[in-house]
């Protein structure tokens, strides 16, 4: 192996080491445990507490080994039946409020507004409010909250 060959290999080895380092830096920075969102069913309330008609806010507490989440959902009841809305604004993630006079969900952050069906009527949100699955069994209401599990 002459000097030139050696130098070539040396440079190759250097680029190998360099790219390995860069790849490991990126994969080090990028979080490992990004899982898909999973649906967890939790007990919310008794069926008799549901609104006859209109929107009501229900708080829940979710607990597992990893985390405790204390948040809320909106339940809507009308002639179309029951619907559960997640309160997280689809724009940048603030919590929305139900305004019973205007009959709208309002996000104070950038003025996003949604109608009773969760559809965007004004402001920047790109998507309607997320509808959560639910289940009523033996007079008990269960809702499926979505978490990165």
């Amino acid at each position: 192996m002459d000097r030139r060959d050696f130098l070539k290999r040396f440079i190759k080895a250097f680029f190998f080491a360099l790219s390995l380092s860069i790849i490991s830096i990126i994969s080090y920075i990028y979080p490992t445990k990004i899982k898909q969102k999973k649906t967890f069913y939790i007990y919310l309330t008794e069926e008799e507490n549901l609104p006859k008609i209109g929107i009501r806010r229900f708080e829940y507490i979710f607990k597992n080994e990893e985390k405790t989440i204390n948040s809320f959902v909106f339940l809507k009841k009308d002639d179309k039946g029951l619907a559960v809305f997640s309160p997280f604004c689809t724009h940048l993630g603030c919590l929305v409020k139900w305004n019973n006079i205007q009959k709208e969900f309002i996000c104070a952050c950038h003025g996003g507004r949604f109608d009773v069906e969760g559809k965007v009527i004004a402001g920047p949100p790109p998507m309607p409010l997320e509808r959560l699955p639910f289940d009523i069994k033996d007079g008990k209401v269960y809702i499926g909250i979505k978490l990165y599990g």
Partner: protein, 128 residues
């Protein structure tokens, strides 16, 4: 007051003329800070709570961005969140190169004004 250091007004030295001015203003800056600290002591907010809708107000130097974001709806949101801020940043960084050629200074002034008026204007809108 600093002129006592140099009899001849037309000659200014880094030391002592300029340095003394700098140190003097640094001390004023420090005193100004202490006045604000004593007048407006820091507070701690409420604990994180996912049950109460909360409108986060950013620090004053991000109010412009906060306002800008609200103008772009739906799938155009990224124009307000990244594209326009990026343009601001690039304009700022490249001012020395914008000031080039015959109307260079005018172009630079326009670029500077876009940034400054954008910043101040949006900040004022967000407070209103």
């Amino acid at each position: 007051m600093m002129d006592t250091f140099n009899k001849d007004k037309r000659v200014k030295k880094f030391y002592p003329d300029y340095l003394s001015e700098i140190i003097f203003t640094m001390l004023i800056a420090f005193e100004l800070l202490i006045i604000f600290v004593l007048l407006y002591p820091p507070v701690v907010g409420r604990q994180i709570d996912l049950t109460k809708p909360f409108q986060p107000i950013p620090e004053w130097y991000f109010l412009w961005l906060f306002k800008l974001v609200g103008y772009f709806h739906g799938s155009f949101a990224f124009i307000g969140t990244v594209i326009i801020p990026l343009i601001f940043v690039l304009l700022l960084l490249f001012i020395p190169f914008i000031d080039h050629g015959r109307y260079g200074r005018i172009k630079a002034i326009i670029a500077g004004m876009i940034i400054l008026i954008g910043f101040i204007g949006l900040t004022i809108f967000s407070i209103l």
